[in-house]
Every structure is written in structure tokens, then in C-alpha cells.
């Protein structure tokens, strides 16, 4: 897990999800299912054995009618940079067989189904429940196999899977760039299926290190926050919300603590060394 500092132009792909724009329609989930060959079962109501690379949670301010408010919160894999931003994401550091690693050139946390032997330690380590286990063999009934995409391999039972930030799209975009003898990808050349599929444009995706990418500015918004930041997992998925109760729901606070104060305290030491 040696960090490769030679990557002067290393990218840190990340996402900014504007919760004010998210209507909870679920298009991101379905766009993801169909992009990534996510299987389905006859009963998907147990959300704890349902394969979802991005799950939209519905959270509430818990105030009585008519002061009640709800907010939808899409949660893909946070692609954590890990404690100290060295790529030691909670899951990567625990996998005993290097079935998941941190790609220093993109900041994306991989999951290799053929390497994984299903110990589920990474699931225990991930505070976001972003990792899902294939409890069953996938089944695509009545010819449905025919719609499977060749760009993402189907998973066998007994292995862990998770959101890959549609890494195959990066691979394909790179293929094209090689053909055209380019080194760099344009912002729109590599977009995740959920970002592309979000009908209200709530999801923005790009290189957090690249000043010309939309995410670079968005993540600096005063209403930006990340989930469970205090754990120092350093997620690369940012959220925007104009509602303070939503921002507070994104992490744990002691009763007397103020959301923004803690947020800034947690953020700063790492934001300072942004460019590593």
C-alpha cells in the first residue's frame, strides 16, 4: 500500500450531492443497477440483504405534523481517503487478501470479486454500510441475462461488492483517450451512471483536485458536509444542504456541540494538505 507520490497529476474523483435538489425518485439506484449488472431477488424488502451500490435513505427532522420535514440522502460508497488521507480507508486496511485497494491515481477504492473470499471484514469496518454481500447466486430470470453489460463482471455468491464510481467508464474513457493520444480526460468523459442519471442534476461528479471541475468549487460551499466526518474516514462524497438539521444528521454530535464548529475543526487539518 505504498503511496505513489510520483503521480503529480493524480486525481481524486469525488462526488457532490446536492440534497436540496434530490427528490428521492430513485433513478440513481436504478441507473446504477442497470449500469452495473446488479441482480435482484423476488423479495428485496430486507434492505440488509439487498444489493445496492447506492441507497437513498429518507431522513426526518422528527418534528410533529405539520412541522415535519424529510430529506433524501443518497449514499454510494464514500471512496474514503482514510485516516490521514493516505488511502488507508477503513475497508482497504482490513481486507486480508487485498481484494480491495486504494488506487492512488484516481482515489477510487476497488473491489475485486474474484479475489474476495467473503470474510466480510470490510463490511464490519465500513461505517456507511456501503459494502454488500452476495448472499445468493445472482439469477436473471427469463432471458434477462441478455441485457447484462459486458463492462462490469457479474458477481458470484459469497463475495462482497460495492459502488466502484463506475470505474469501467473511466477505463473506457481512457481507452478512447489512448486512441486519440491524449493524457487527460475531459470532465464529461468520465461520469458515473448515477450522476448522469440523476434527473434533477443533484449529483455532480469529477476530480476534486481539478480546479476546472464543478466538484472542486461545490465541495467548498459553506453548506457542504460529509458523512461521519469525525471518524476521519475522509470520504470523497460531499453533500450540500441548506438545512442545518440535515447537516447535523450527517454525523454524531454531543448535545452541546455545534455542528458547524465541529465540522470545520474536523475538516481543516486535512483540507490544508489537499494537494498531496
Amino acid at each position: 500500500m505504498k503511496e505513489n507520490n510520483n503521480h503529480s497529476n493524480a486525481k481524486r474523483y469525488g462526488m457532490v450531492i446536492d440534497l436540496d435538489k434530490c427528490t428521492g425518485c430513485g433513478s440513481c439506484m436504478v441507473a446504477c443497477y442497470s449500469e452495473n449488472n446488479v441482480p435482484f431477488k423476488t423479495d428485496e424488502t430486507n434492505k440488509l440483504d439487498s444489493l445496492n451500490w447506492i441507497r437513498v435513505y429518507k431522513i426526518s427532522n422528527n418534528k410533529p405534523y405539520p412541522h415535519s420535514e424529510v430529506c433524501y440522502l443518497p449514499m454510494p460508497c464514500m471512496q474514503c481517503d482514510g485516516i490521514g488521507k493516505h488511502g488507508h480507508s477503513p475497508c482497504v486496511s482490513v481486507c486480508p487478501a487485498v481484494a480491495t485497494d486504494y488506487d492512488y491515481s484516481t482515489g477510487i477504492v476497488s473491489q475485486i470479486y474474484t479475489r474476495c473470499f467473503g470474510c466480510r471484514y470490510c463490511m464490519a469496518a465500513c461505517p456507511y454500510h456501503a459494502r454488500k454481500f452476495n448472499w445468493w447466486d445472482p439469477v436473471w430470470p427469463a432471458d434477462m441475462e441478455k441485457y447484462l453489460s459486458p463492462n462490469v463482471s457479474a458477481r458470484m455468491r459469497g463475495v462482497v461488492e460495492k459502488c466502484s464510481f463506475c470505474f469501467h467508464r473511466y477505463q473506457l474513457a481512457r481507452d478512447k483517450a489512448y486512441l486519440e493520444k491524449r493524457q487527460e480526460l475531459a470532465e464529461d468523459e468520465y461520469q458515473t451512471a448515477c450522476a448522469q442519471g440523476c434527473p434533477t442534476g443533484a449529483i455532480t461528479f469529477g476530480d476534486l483536485n481539478n480546479k476546472s471541475h464543478a466538484v472542486y468549487k461545490l465541495k467548498k460551499s459553506p453548506t457542504a458536509f460529509r458523512l461521519l466526518e469525525r471518524l476521519e474516514t475522509n470520504p470523497k462524497v460531499y453533500y450540500l444542504s441548506s438545512k442545518s438539521w440535515v447537516r447535523r444528521a450527517g454525523d454524531n454530535y454531543l448535545a452541546h456541540e455545534e455542528t458547524e464548529k465541529i465540522n470545520n475543526k474536523v475538516k481543516e487539518p486535512y483540507e490544508a494538505k489537499e494537494h498531496l
Partner: protein, 412 residues
């Protein structure tokens, strides 16, 4: 034809049919577990009630618990061969057998627990040296090998096998170098018991489990080693006492038991003080830094603060204090109470460090996660118990496990 007897000389054993009946009963339970095991291998882990929130559940607890309880082997070995507590030679054989059972069970459960058993060897071949689980797998396997080596000379002491000069000498020579293996075992155990503590302690995404580090190891690393050393011998004593109860014979002299109990008592007391310190530091420094109060971790009806009290006071200080007092050790009731509490205590510790870690919700909008094992999980967890009973029964019947048996139970 007058065969060499299978049963060691000078001891009484129950009749063949009694033994067969007993073995048949235990084997039935074993087969139930084996059936569940094959069901899981064939159909996959959907046979369990684990889920994406409970990736680690009953099995991992069983693993951690049996390894902690099997810790009696390495610690008794350490005391016997390295510290030179000769008195403990009267119980070391049994400690080794219990350790062997525990460790082989742990490996078996791991083989059932993984989603792709046929790829299990990836943990060695494609090892990630940063993972605590890798450390566990390596040390566990190595120590299991050591235990096997420690067990072999005892097996070779079976009258029928000992008749062959080669085997007899092998056994004798192996005994001679047992200290070397004991030392190796202690070294390996220190690491894998610790690593098992590390398994939970390094999870910095899980505030309930996460502990601050000393050098590269979280506190739990040391607490696990220590608690295994403290409570493992209690389990050895407990199994000895149960065996004595069932056979109706005294098998190990009081001196050995009391010595082990005394050492255990001091270990427990020191462990629980360390554990208390760790808990206080975690409750007042670590957790609040992550936005949690201690009580946030105990708001469920299952996982309430009573568990912490039970673990530290009832199953920690109480047995510790009993065992360090002479009267406590000499009263058979108090001794039994203490060793049972200690065994429960360490098991409880492993339980919360696995299952409560999974149960605690990390987001304010999530509920506590609940889990109830499926029968397949229960059967495969009972499987090692049945297996252990069979191994102990066979060993007791055919091997000279207890050096003091003949002396304590003279046959008229």
C-alpha cells in the same frame, strides 16, 4: 489372540456399550452440525441469518471465544515449561487437548464462515500484511500446528501405539523438546490473541470497537491476549471439573488446580483493571471525540449498560477477587463460581466486541441492528462442542491424559 489393551493400564473405564451409547449420542449432535455445515457449503451463506449489517456474527464470536478459552493451552504451557511450575504438569496434557479442540474448531468455523471456502487460501497467498485478520490466520494456523505437535506425543502414549519402538521413542523425544514448542506457542499466541483483539480495535469506522493505539496496536490487542491468558486456564479447570464430575473421579490434584486458579485470579484482576482503565479512557476521551457518549452505545434493550456491568464487575472483579484469596480457591463452590464467571466474562467480552459492534447504529437516523442466528448457524456452532466432547472422551478413555489419575483413584 491376546491384543495389547487400548486402554492405559491401571485405570478404570466404563463399559464398551456405555461408551458406545455416549458416543452415539454425541455423534448424533455432531452429524447435525455436519449436515448444517454441508448445507452452508452447498447453498451458501444465505443459510445464515447474517446480513449486510451483521457481516460478523455468531461464528466470529464463537471463533474469538474458543480461541480465548483455548488460551489455557498456551498459558499453562508457558507456566509449566518456561516458568517451571512443575505442579501444572498434572493438567498440562488436558490443557493441550482443550487447546487443540478449540483451535481446530476455530479453523473449521472460519472455513464455514467465509463466502468462498475454496478461495480461503488467498489469505495466505495474497496476504495483506496490514490486516489483523491476516495476522490471525497465520498465527492461528501455525499455533494449531504447534498444538498438534504437542498433542502427538500424548497420542503415542496409547499402550497399543507405544508398543512400537519407533513411535515410543518419537513420543519420548518429543516430550523432551516440548519446551521449545511451548515457547513457540506462547509467542504465536501472544500475537494472534492480540490480533483478534486488533480485529475489532482497528475499526476506526466503528466507534464502539475502536481503541487508541500503542505503537501499531490498539489497546484491545493487549487486552485480548491478557484476558485469554487469564480466563483460558479457568476454562481448562472448568472442563477438568466437568470431566471429573462425569467420570466420578478426581483426575487432577487440588494443588495443581489451585495453583492455576491463583495465577488465573491475579491475571484476571490485573486484566480487569486494565480493561476498566481502557473503558474509562474510551468512554471519556475516544468516544466523545467522535460524537458519542458512553450511553449512546447502550440504548438498545438487548445491549444495555447492564452488559458492561456484567462484564467488568460480575464476570471480572468478582471471579478475580475470589481466585486471589486462598479461601476462595479452597471452597469448591466459590472456585466453581469464579471459574464459570470468568469463562462467561471472557465470552461476553468477545460477544460485545463482535456483535455489539455490528448492532450500534452509526447514524442518528438508523435504528439498532438486530440479529438472531439461524438453526444452521447454531448447529455449526454446536458442532465443535460435540466434536470436543468426542475428542475428550476418546482421549480420556485411551490416553494417559491425567498423570495423577492412578494415584488418586487406586483400583482395588
Amino acid at each position: 489372540m491376546n491384543e495389547t489393551p487400548l486402554i492405559p493400564a491401571g485405570v478404570k473405564r466404563c463399559s464398551k456399550w456405555q461408551f458406545s451409547l455416549w458416543m452415539a449420542a454425541v455423534t448424533a449432535v455432531l452429524l447435525w452440525g455436519v449436515y448444517a455445515m454441508f448445507l452452508i457449503w452447498y447453498k451458501g451463506l444465505n443459510q445464515t441469518n447474517m446480513n449486510d449489517a451483521y457481516g460478523f456474527a455468531l461464528w466470529i464470536w464463537a471463533d474469538l471465544a474458543v480461541i480465548a478459552l483455548g488460551g489455557g493451552a498456551f498459558f499453562s504451557g508457558f507456566l509449566t515449561y518456561i516458568i517451571g511450575k512443575d505442579e501444572l504438569k498434572n493438567i498440562i496434557n488436558f490443557a493441550v487437548i482443550i487447546g487443540f479442540i478449540c483451535y481446530s474448531s476455530a479453523l473449521l468455523i472460519l472455513a464455514i464462515d467465509i463466502g468462498q471456502p475454496l478461495r480461503g487460501w488467498f489469505i495466505f497467498w495474497h496476504a495483506n500484511v496490514h490486516s489483523m485478520l491476516t495476522e490471525v490466520a497465520f498465527c492461528l494456523s501455525c499455533y494449531f500446528a504447534v498444538l498438534t505437535i504437542e498433542f502427538i506425543p500424548l497420542i503415542l502414549e496409547n499402550p497399543k501405539l507405544a508398543k512400537k519402538p519407533f513411535l515410543h521413542h518419537l513420543s519420548h523425544n518429543m516430550h523432551g523438546i516440548m519446551a521449545v514448542f511451548a515457547a513457540t506457542g506462547v509467542f504465536l499466541s501472544f500475537f494472534h490473541q492480540g490480533s483478534l483483539g486488533g480485529v475489532a480495535g482497528v475499526l476506526y469506522g466503528r466507534p464502539f470497537a475502536f481503541r487508541e493505539h500503542i505503537f501499531i496496536w490498539p489497546f484491545t490487542f493487549f487486552l485480548f491476549t491478557w484476558s485469554a491468558a487469564a480466563c483460558g486456564p479457568c476454562f481448562t479447570i472448568l472442563v477438568t471439573k466437568i470431566t471429573e464430575k462425569i467420570t466420578g473421579k478426581k483426575l487432577v490434584g487440588d494443588a495443581a488446580v489451585r495453583l492455576l486458579a491463583k495465577i488465573s485470579g491475579w491475571m484476571i484482576i490485573t486484566y480487569i483493571i486494565a480493561k476498566t482503565a481502557d473503558t474509562i479512557y474510551w468512554a471519556y476521551v475516544t468516544a466523545p471525540g467522535l460524537g458519542f457518549t458512553l450511553m449512546d452505545f447502550y440504548t438498545s434493550s438487548t445491549y444495555n449498560i447492564g452488559l458492561l456491568f456484567a462484564e467488568i464487575i460480575v464476570c471480572g472483579f468478582v471471579p478475580g477477587l475470589i481466585l486471589i484469596t486462598k479461601r476462595g480457591r479452597e471452597s469448591s463452590f466459590l472456585l466453581m463460581t469464579a471459574i464459570i464467571l470468568a469463562v462467561i466474562g471472557v465470552s461476553l467480552n468477545r460477544w460485545v466486541m463482535v456483535l455489539q459492534v455490528m448492532a450500534v447504529p452509526l447514524f442518528s437516523f438508523n435504528e439498532w441492528y438486530t440479529y438472531m442466528p439461524s438453526w444452521q448457524e447454531v448447529a455449526t456452532t454446536v458442532l465443535p462442542v460435540a466434536y470436543g466432547l468426542i475428542v475428550i472422551s476418546l482421549a480420556y478413555r485411551y490416553l494417559p491424559v491425567f498423570p495423577q489419575e492412578r494415584e488418586l483413584n487406586p483400583i482395588d
